[in-house]
């Protein structure tokens, strides 16, 4: 890297359908647990929705946050705050460890405050203007999660909120990389947050025929790369990491989980929801990540896949991986266990990728029983596999044709 700047990861935070923090999520993932459960919301029956399952948080954010703070935040903002506090504290930061003008926050979301939007619209319809909360707009705006975390940390180098559907969380981390490499910030708190398990997103995704309807076996519904996969399972949660300029982190004696060596982004220019079956745009993003990190494709031992358990998407991704890297990397798809956290997915899965490098272990793809014959790569199934990794890539793709690849290396 000609600039001499390196970006390292010093803190991790998450709240997911597998656990209320990073350690419990990672342990549950390796143990083969599923976060998918039946939805008990009254609207599931009311609208007779074809999808009756979702991947739901095990620790409700309102149990963790003070009551008054929670009532001023949309659920997507609540999970962002929870994960950010964990990451900030894990990084060993406090109010004095970084000049606020050198600190940025970048947290993406795919959908934003859908629950607030719908709840307040319902109040307007049924009870009139007076009952609409004056906090409606700051609760529903998609930059709300980033804004609240930025305000809490008093970050002044910039507060940003990439919105690129299911690539949002990864895009936030890519943006953080660019800010540090360009010298705009020393420390960036970056990730994704999503909490939209409510009637209209479920109805909309259902009508697009993208979701699994394996309602009688919730824990088996999300099965990336398996021949019997029938769609993704909607999930909720947040993942946040603290990224720093290496010299800055080392000078303050921070522990370092790993390095974000390179990032690549591209757009398909193909279709609003379907991925290019040839994986051209996706492979360009992966190749760009390796190039920017000066990583030889032969050194990439592992790809943490975006694979969502949809029939078309999973195969297209493996085509892209072959094209950009080759047929040697060991693959996994954490969505088998986590479900699809939309705008948080890329961030949570980036955390998983970092831990795979740290611990030398790739989690199994839950529910992968019969590998789709169209997939000719090595996908970990059954149990975690020990692999020493010199470099690993995390893929994230989103409706709209957004592609993001993050290339991580050891500390």
């Amino acid at each position: 890297m000609t600039s001499g700047i390196e970006v390292v990861i010093t803190g991790l935070g998450a709240t997911t359908p597998l656990g209320g923090d990073v350690t419990s999520t990672w342990d549950a993932l390796l143990a083969g647990k599923s976060g998918v459960r039946p939805m008990t919301h009254d609207w599931v029956e009311k609208y007779d929705l074809p999808v009756k399952i979702a991947s739901q948080l095990v620790v409700d954010p309102t149990e963790v946050l003070p009551r008054v703070e929670a009532r001023r935040l949309d659920r997507s903002e609540q999970v962002a705050i929870v994960a950010s506090r964990q990451a900030w504290s894990d990084a060993g930061h406090n109010d004095d460890t970084v000049d606020k003008q050198r600190l940025a926050v970048i947290i993406g979301t795919g959908i934003g405050g859908a629950i607030t939007l719908l709840t307040q619209d319902d109040l307007l319809e049924t009870q009139g203007l007076r009952k609409v909360s004056p906090l409606t707009v700051p609760m529903l705006m998609p930059n709300g999660p980033a804004a609240h975390v930025g305000l809490e940390l008093k970050a002044q180098a910039g507060v940003h909120a990439p919105v690129s559907a299911c690539a949002s969380g990864a895009e936030a981390i890519a943006w953080a990389y660019r800010m540090i490499m360009s010298g705009e910030a020393d420390v960036v708190v970056a990730g994704g947050a999503e909490a939209c398990i409510t009637a209209i997103p479920v109805a909309g995704f259902s009508q697009a025929r993208t979701m699994s309807t394996r309602n009688d076996e919730p824990e088996k519904a999300s099965r990336p790369f398996d021949t019997a996969r029938d769609g993704f399972v909607l999930g909720e949660g947040a993942g946040v990491m603290v990224l720093e300029r290496r010299e800055f982190a080392e000078a303050r004696g921070a522990k370092i989980y790993g390095r974000l060596a390179g990032i690549g982004t591209s757009a398909d220019g193909y279709h609003i929801t379907a991925p290019d079956p040839e994986g051209v745009g996706q492979s360009r993003a992966i190749a760009a990540a390796l190039r920017s990190g000066n990583i030889d494709p032969s050194d990439v031992g592992h790809v943490n896949c975006h694979a969502t358990s949809t029939p078309v998407g999973d195969v297209a991704e493996t085509v892209a991986i072959r094209k950009a890297i080759g047929d040697h990397p060991v693959l996994t798809a954490p969505k088998g266990a986590l479900g699809h956290l939309l705008g948080a997915a890329g961030a949570v899965e980036a955390i998983v990728t970092v831990l795979s490098i740290r611990d030398g272990v790739v989690p199994q793809t839950l529910n992968l029983e019969n590998l789709d014959p169209a997939v000719t790569l090595d996908v970990v199934a059954g149990e975690p596999r020990k692999v020493k990794l010199d470099a690993a890539v995390n893929d994230s793709f989103g409706f709209g044709g957004h592609n993001v690849a993050l290339a991580f290396t050891p500390a």
Binding site: P66, R67, V68, E69, R130, K131, S133, P134, L135, P138
Partner: protein, 78 residues
């Protein structure tokens, strides 16, 4: 000053803004002492309207600087 109105208002302030009801006393300024922002003031006013059966128009709300101002307004308008 009505103790019932004061204690009822204090409950609302605690619910909306998390200020302990005991701290909501007549001489306190909503903004300077209780750290209540303009958005929370709107919520407090709407809840007070429902609880006490009064109307608090926006131009009146702007004049209610202290808890005592609010108690007096509610007492004389309900």
């Amino acid at each position: 000053m009505s103790d019932n109105v004061l204690s009822g208002l204090a409950e609302i302030v605690e619910e909306v803004a998390g200020v302990a009801a005991d701290d909501v006393t007549a001489e306190k300024s909503f903004v300077d002492d209780l750290d209540i922002d303009s958005l929370s003031m709107v919520e407090i006013a709407v809840q007070a309207e429902d609880k006490f059966g009064v109307k608090i128009p926006d131009d009146e709300l702007a004049n209610l600087k202290t808890v005592g101002d609010a108690v007096n307004y509610i007492t004389s308008n309900k």
